[in-house]
């Protein structure tokens, strides 16, 4: 469906929630491939790991069965070592449609399924539990939880063992793309040590569909390619790969803790022991506080396992632990969210990077723009920690930005202007999830039927 058709009839003020919900449904129905959802028909024509989890959170309100399939199709591409690859390539899409494509990664769990070899944040168990809750009877009939549980447990085991490169109970990422926040200024320091592959040696495809000013630079891209090729050439073996880039990321580990809590509920539902999962969630939170909490800035920071020490860049990754129930430093994080760095309530949604930081750029991918999945996690955290009014304001800000931007991939936090792809799947999914969280009332939608 063309982007101009998506918002047909929708008033751009987000007051028309029924119209907005219908438009969001059109995006998700249009991006459905039969077993999963592409983030964007143009820019991202395959299945992405954390995209699928965020998509499922919205899709569950449109079709619980499709939401279950979305997650099952991703879990079906799991490797023997437990990792969930960050991309599962669509076999029918030409190799040249995306770079780096399957011929670059040369990876997959078995013949016929081609994937990348890196991972993305482990939000899947959280999504599985939320999708289950949308229609327990349908999930039970399909055996959804029983089939998902061992795969999710293996996924977490992989992160807990092979990825604990620092040896302190946190999973490390070995490529900026594993954070999901690909070009965050948090990675500038560690990346500076990586020798970039010259731009002449590869052909980017993202610039075919997006403005260069919205995307990572060629220099960054050359470093991403170098890191990925190195990992690939070591057979994606975490023990033997040298890992020039190894970072403990707060959002990645907070989502692991959140997912361990969900896995405890899933375990209980399928007759397994929930206690180990609860214990691991506690351990991850303790390690987060011990290793990544920076009291002076009131924010979690990334830790560079190669260069040593905390990375003194203030990215939104450090706010994401707010979504973890019972977080002891939640009040500090709330203050930081509302402070000068993130401007909650004064800018559009939640910026991906420190508004006052030297590297802030309101338009370039993860160096400032606001993203809908992150907004949803912060929204969850605000509700979790008793900031209901701020949560409601953030919800309004997100719905308005989605409507104005035609479900853009991300928006400028200062202007609300959309950037990147339009008709972006997790943006539409987040809209459905936010609307379902507080459905429209008659007086809010005007004509009700």
């Amino acid at each position: 469906m063309s982007s101009s058709a998506i918002l047909e009839g929708v008033r751009p003020d987000a007051a028309d929630l029924v119209g907005l919900r219908r438009a969001a449904a059109r995006v998700l129905l249009g991006n459905w491939t039969g077993s999963s959802t592409v983030p964007s028909r143009t820019l991202y024509p395959h299945q992405w790991s954390w995209d699928s989890a965020f998509v499922a959170l919205g899709l569950r309100h449109l079709s619980p069965r499709r939401a279950q399939r979305e997650l099952e199709s991703l879990l079906g591409a799991q490797w023997d070592d437990g990792r969930l690859p960050h991309i599962v390539f669509d076999a029918a899409t030409p190799e040249g449609a995306y770079f780096p494509g399957p011929d670059f990664w040369r990876a997959g769990p078995f013949p016929g399924v081609r994937t990348s070899g890196i991972v993305q944040p482990p939000v899947h168990a959280f999504a599985v539990w939320e999708v289950f809750r949308a229609d327990p009877a349908e999930a039970e009939r399909r055996g959804f939880l029983a089939r998902a549980y061992p795969r999710l447990a293996a996924w977490h085991r992989y992160l807990r063992t092979r990825r604990d490169l620092g040896g302190h109970g946190l999973a490390a990422i070995v490529h900026p793309w594993e954070s999901g926040m690909d070009n965050s200024p948090c990675w500038d320091g560690p990346l500076a040590r990586v020798d970039p592959v010259p731009p002449s040696r590869f052909r980017r495809r993202d610039l075919d569909h997006a403005a260069p000013g919205d995307r990572p630079t060629d220099l960054d891209y050359g470093r991403y390619v170098r890191l990925a090729a190195h990992y690939r050439d070591h057979g994606y073996d975490d023990a033997s790969a040298p890992h020039a880039f190894a970072v403990e990321d707060p959002a990645f580990n907070a989502l692991l803790a959140l997912s361990e809590l969900a896995l405890a509920r899933i375990a209980a539902a399928v007759g397994a022991d929930p206690a180990p999962h609860r214990r691991r969630a506690d351990e991850v939170v303790a390690a987060l506080l011990d290793r990544l909490w920076d009291a002076s800035s009131g924010l979690f920071l990334c830790r560079d396992l190669r260069g040593g020490g905390l990375i003194r860049e203030h990215g939104v990754t450090g706010l994401v632990p707010l979504a973890v129930p019972g977080l002891p430093v939640a009040a500090d994080l709330l203050r930081t969210a509302c402070g000068a760095r993130f401007g909650l309530g004064r800018v559009h949604m939640v910026p991906s990077y420190d508004l006052t930081g030297p590297a802030f750029d309101p338009a370039r991918y993860w160096r400032g723009p606001s993203w809908f999945n992150i907004g949803r996690l912060v929204h969850l955290g605000l509700l979790e920690h008793g900031a209901a009014e701020r949560a409601a304001a953030l919800r309004r800000s997100m719905l308005r930005a989605a409507a104005r931007s035609r479900f853009a991939e991300y928006v400028d936090p200062l202007t609300g202007e959309g950037h990147g792809a339009t008709g972006f799947a997790w943006t539409a999914a987040t809209v459905l999830d936010l609307i379902a969280h507080d459905p429209p009332k008659v007086d809010e939608v005007g004509q009700n039927s």
């Binding site: 919900r21 219908r22 059109r26 069965r65 459905p439 039927s449």
Partner: protein, 260 residues
């Protein structure tokens, strides 16, 4: 909000009034008349039912039982009559396949000149009467040519008449469409009527169709017309029919709750 309707022949009761009483109790808002008999002969009964408050907006034309030019002429004449009768009763239209269905076709969707001529005649008559002709794709075992929504849309576009629209049937779509929800969205501008039955042609909820996805797609397409329970064999248990309106309302996206 979509009105939920039921085909006449499925409802228990001897008279239309008895069927209506059952329908209303179960949460239906209309009855779709069966067009197998000559509606002209039923006019006194239908007028009486209308006077007593029975809501009968549409007629299901049904497929002719024989083939050939004569059967075709008969079928056209019959639908003309149905369009006139439903107009007189204050209804909205008649649902018909492209007819007459001939066995053994290849389902390529190519319309014959006869198809177009018949539909043009009936579409013009519908326009004269102020009602609509709804063209229903059928699955490949029931129709040789018009099996998918896009094929019906192509016919409607070729005709260029506002008085001819497409009727989607979930049972047929389950067989013929690669993605029924996506097919609904693509056909949205031409969609005028919807028949609902499950994967096994029993009432919605008795099979394995993904109703939230289908109804979500209809909602996303802006379709606010009738959802008509069709196709189930007569003699469906009363409880099964009575459960359908509640089942569909639960599967439809929330339209907003009354403000408290």
């Amino acid at each position: 909000m979509n009105r939920i309707s039921c085909q006449e022949r499925l409802l228990p009761g001897r008279t239309l009034r008895q069927k209506w009483d059952f329908a209303v109790r179960a949460g239906y808002g209309a009855i779709e008349l069966c067009g197998r008999e000559d509606l002209r002969e039923r006019l006194p009964e239908l007028r009486e039912a209308a006077r007593s408050g029975v809501v009968m907006p549409t007629v299901h034309a049904g497929a002719p039982r024989t083939h050939g030019p004569e059967a075709r002429r008969d079928a056209v004449a019959r639908v003309r009559t149905q369009l006139s009768v439903i107009a007189e009763l204050g209804g909205t239209g008649v649902i018909t396949p492209a007819f007459p269905p001939q066995p053994g076709g290849d389902g390529d969707g190519a319309a014959s000149q006869d198809d177009l001529d018949d539909l043009a005649e009936l579409g013009a008559h519908a326009a004269d009467e102020g009602v609509t002709l709804f063209l229903a794709p059928l699955n490949r075992y029931e129709h040789p040519r018009v099996n998918r929504l896009e094929q019906a849309v192509a016919l409607v576009r070729a005709l260029g008449l506002d008085s001819v629209r497409v009727a989607a049937g979930t049972f047929h779509m389950n067989i013929e469409e690669a993605d029924p929800a996506a097919a609904v969205l693509a056909a949205a501008p031409w969609l005028g009527h919807v028949h609902v039955s499950d994967s096994n042609r029993r009432p919605p909820g008795a099979g394995h169709l993904d109703w939230p996805a289908l109804l979500g797609a209809l909602d996303a397409a802006g379709y606010d017309g009738d959802l008509v329970v069709e196709g189930a064999p007569a003699g469906e248990p009363e409880e099964a029919l009575a459960a359908v309106p509640g089942f569909l309302r639960r599967a439809l996206p929330a339209r907003g709750r009354p403000a408290s």
